[in-house]
């Protein structure tokens, strides 16, 4: 039994997990059209390799990953590619992005898939390539390509794999449900990932508000027998314990250095859904084409967890769960703390869609106008990064970039705990996001300015050098002429004039010869 460490700050918003009946999964079925964005992950968008009109089978590669940080896109069912173009996608900006549209034929015919027979006999590089080919990116929220994350093994010695089953956001129960229904697959996936990383320890972190998931995970880990240092750890429910850095501190007592990665302290974190996707890719050879999505909120008649094909329009899921929009209706992609509001239900489910929240206005009322900051310090008590949010707020308003950086603005994980507790309902996180992007822009501007200054100086130097060289040449010519003149002076001027005339004559004769 390991010690559970306490983290600074945190809040206890109403959990509302019971709404979506964790542990129960419904199938979302086939919508009339699947919309597959080429960017469902962090990094470069995938490159389509199919054309409009192509017939594809389920599991077939539609778009290849591009470069080191990218993830491929596969067909979640068989059908016809009807369009490749701009569609609304789930993104805080609300902008459109390139998607592949697929109309299912209803047959759901799969390509033949083949898994790896004994992954322990394969090299980590081969297994990572399989994971890359399966288009897996983190299913927890950020969507970092999993293969790229696992390459940390080449850079750092990894001793611990953490499976993050915290799910600390209120309302969401997708991971809770997955741990209840697919504990064996999670454990199998975790073993594969640990094998790739060369990690000897696997820690499963589960908040204590999920007793059923905890039991299921403990049973699945125990069923493996003694395969090494494995532990399912339960810890008190508190938001945001599921933040990667927070969970690492809770389970190991270590802090990830500022600006660093968990790999720097020998740790890699994965979401349970990602572990299952890795298992399916390695054992069954199946790419990532579906995930669990929590549909919840009191504007839904039948909130539940659904097994959803990627690309399924959210409107399809809303119809399944009896959505009755009210006035000032909000639709949130993700949880209430860090999720972003969607403008339309036409956007599809992507690899990072863990929850679609449709609250009533009474349930999550729009914030009242902000009042004055009285520096009460509740935000500083709630901040899991031990920042001073009230100071950051004042500096952000004053656009004091030096103080913002001195107060470690960039260690803010944007969890929203400060905004949640703020008695004056100041949208603090919004100020930090804006300040961060302003500073990043300023840094880029500075880099650009430095580059152009360097270019300018190089040009200046070249121009001066050329001028110097010209000057030197001129001086040399002058010197040569002077010398010549001096040597000519030394001779008898008459003789010299004769010689010159002779030379001229000769040159004329020569030039005539040539012509």
């Amino acid at each position: 039994m390991r010690t559970v460490y306490a983290i600074h700050g945190g809040i206890h918003p109403p959990e509302e997990k019971h709404l979506s009946h964790p542990g129960k999964v419904l199938d979302a079925g086939l919508p009339s059209e699947l919309i597959l964005p080429l960017s469902q992950h962090i990094g470069a968008p995938a490159e389509p390799i199919v054309n409009v009109g192509d017939k594809v089978k389920a599991g077939q590669l539609l778009a290849e990953s591009q470069g080191a940080v990218s993830a491929a896109v596969h067909a979640p069912t068989s059908g016809t590619v009807t369009a490749i173009g701009m569609r609304p996608v789930p993104h805080p900006s609300g902008l459109e992005n390139t998607c592949i549209c697929l109309v299912p034929d209803g047959a759901d015919e799969w390509i033949t898939t083949r898994g790896v027979e004994d992954y322990r006999a394969e090299s980590p590089q081969t297994l990572i390539q399989h994971i890359r080919d399966a288009g897996i990116s983190g299913l927890g929220g950020a969507g970092f390509p999993t293969a790229t994350k696992l390459l940390a093994r080449d850079r750092c010695a990894i001793d611990t794999l953490i499976i993050n089953g915290t799910e600390c956001e209120p309302y969401i129960t997708a991971d809770d449900t997955l741990m209840q229904v697919a504990a064996e697959q999670i454990v199998a996936g975790a073993e594969i990932i640990a094998h790739i990383l060369g990690a000897s320890i696997i820690l499963y972190g589960v908040e204590d508000n999920k007793p059923d998931a905890l039991k299921a995970m403990q049973a699945a880990v125990a069923a493996q027998g003694d395969v090494g240092d494995r532990e399912v750890m339960s810890f008190p429910t508190k938001y945001p314990s599921g933040g990667e850095k927070q969970l690492i501190e809770i389970l190991t007592g270590k802090q990830v250095p500022s600006g660093g990665l968990p790999a720097d302290v020998g740790i890699v974190c994965q979401n349970p859904g990602t572990a299952v996707a890795v298992r399916d890719a390695i054992i069954d050879g199946k790419p990532l084409t579906e995930r669990l999505v929590t549909l919840t909120g009191r504007a839904l008649g039948k909130p539940c967890n659904y097994r959803v094909r990627l690309g399924t329009p959210i409107s399809h899921l809303l119809a399944l769960s009896a959505f009755t929009p009210g006035s000032k209706q909000r639709l949130i992609h993700g949880g209430p703390m860090m999720g972003f509001a969607l403008e339309t239900g036409a956007v599809p489910v992507i690899k990072t869609t863990n929850c679609v929240l449709a609250p009533t206005h009474e349930e999550l009322p729009a914030p009242p106008p902000a009042q004055a900051c009285i520096r009460c310090g509740l935000c500083a008590e709630a901040c899991p990064a031990s920042l001073l949010p009230q100071q950051l707020y004042w500096y952000a308003k004053a656009k004091d970039q030096e103080q913002l950086e001195k107060h470690n603005l960039f260690d803010c994980i944007e969890c929203g705990a400060c905004s949640w507790v703020c008695p004056s309902t100041i949208p603090l996180v919004q100020y930090y996001r804006a300040a961060k992007s302003t500073i990043v822009e300023a840094r880029q501007d500075k880099q650009r300015a430095e580059r152009s200054q360097a270019r300018f100086e190089a040009r200046q130097e070249r121009v001066e050098r050329e001028a110097r060289e010209r000057e030197a040449k001129r001086a040399a010519r002058k010197l040569a002429a002077q010398k010549k003149a001096e040597s000519a002076d030394a001779e008898d001027p008459v003789q010299a004039a004769i010689a010159r005339a002779k030379a001229r004559k000769e040159s004329v004769v020569k030039s005539e010869d040539v012509s």
């Binding site: 500022s258 909000r330 703390m337 972003f340 403008e343 339309t344 004055a372 009460c376």
Partner: protein, 340 residues
């Protein structure tokens, strides 16, 4: 269909600034009740009259500043300012004293700096010090506590407030004055000979302080503020008093218990220095802030010439708060603690 676009977080906690301020107001009750019991209804009347003046002023200022006055009145902050000032004023003060005090607190203490949240000094203490310097006589006239004299009734109080006549009931030196002026008596004898001394400190004062302590502990329990500043201040006063006790000689500054339960100690510790706007922001900073206030209170009480020292000590440390903040930034997650 278009959905409402709002950035995260989408939920909000139960606490609002208005509720925080109301809780603080409520927490002054035990202390105010004790004051009313021992000194009569003067303080209560001060608070009511001061509150009306403050609300009116805030309304006018907000209207002049072209903001919605009702929106700003709803945060209750101006009532907290006026209530805290009126608790600090002597009971049976004339109406103009209260008007000048409240106006100084609200206008000079707060609005000239930009309103709530922008004031570098505790507004109530600004108002108090303006009065103390301008009207020292009125400000040092304290009624005698119940048990030593008859406590005035409501009609006396109204007369004192509005009839513009100096309230001439029995007033006497407070225990803090006696302790400071004492040159010949052992502390023991002082307690025995002077009627103003009660069980632990002054008659009445000890219970007023216990009342504010109770209200303050309740605020701590409600997590309206943290323990750092008040506890540091009380600890500092206690240490200074222990150091200056001098075995209870005629030179003694008084015991720790005497200082804890005299004057505005508990009121200052839990209601004045906990004003978040003008104090240091980090927990470590608040410990330093509170401790230095405690030290200053003791020094001014023992060597100064004013009835009490809380207001000056608080204002001086308000000056220092930004400097304290500069050196007490807490270690952020992922930063080496030795760097900080």
């Amino acid at each position: 269909m278009g959905f409402l676009k709002i950035t995260s977080p989408h939920g909000h906690g139960p606490l609002s600034t208005g509720k925080v301020m109301q809780t603080v107001l409520l927490a002054t009750l035990p202390g105010v009740i004790a004051m009313t019991w021992f000194f009569g209804p003067g303080t209560l009347l001060n608070i009511l009259f001061g509150g009306i003046v403050a609300l009116g002023l805030e309304y006018c200022v907000m209207a002049v500043r072209k903001r919605d006055p009702l929106f700003y009145l709803r945060d209750f902050s101006v009532l907290v300012t006026s209530t805290l000032l009126c608790i600090a004023l002597p009971p049976y003060a004339p109406w103009w004293l209260i008007v000048v005090g409240v106006a100084s607190a609200v206008l000079l203490g707060k609005h000239v700096f930009g309103g709530l949240g922008y004031n570098p000094f505790n507004p109530a203490m600004v108002g108090y010090v303006v009065l103390l310097i301008s009207f020292p006589l009125q400000m040092s006239t304290w009624a005698s506590p119940r048990g030593l004299a008859d406590v005035p009734g409501m009609s006396d109080a109204l007369t004192a407030l509005f009839a513009n006549s100096q309230y001439d009931a029995v007033t006497m030196a407070t225990p803090l004055d006696l302790m400071r002026q004492n040159t010949g008596l052992l502390v023991e004898d002082l307690y025995r000979q002077k009627a103003q001394f009660g069980q632990f400190a002054g008659v009445g004062w000890e219970w007023v302080n216990i009342g504010f302590l109770a209200g303050g502990l309740w605020l701590l329990y409600r997590r309206i503020f943290t323990w750092h500043a008040p506890m540091a201040m009380l600890a500092a006063i206690g240490l200074c008093a222990a150091a200056g006790f001098d075995g209870g000689s005629s030179n003694s500054g008084g015991s720790a218990l005497f200082h804890w339960l005299s004057g505005a100690t508990m009121f200052g510790a839990f209601f004045i220095i906990t004003d978040p706007v003008s104090s240091a922001v980090s927990n470590r900073g608040r410990i330093i802030f509170g401790a230095l206030i405690g030290v200053l209170i003791y020094i001014i009480r023992v060597t100064g010439n004013y009835p009490d020292a809380v207001a000056f000590a608080v204002l001086i440390l308000n000056f220092a708060a930004p400097l304290i903040d500069q050196y007490t930034q807490p270690a952020t997650y992922g930063h080496d603690r030795r760097d900080e």
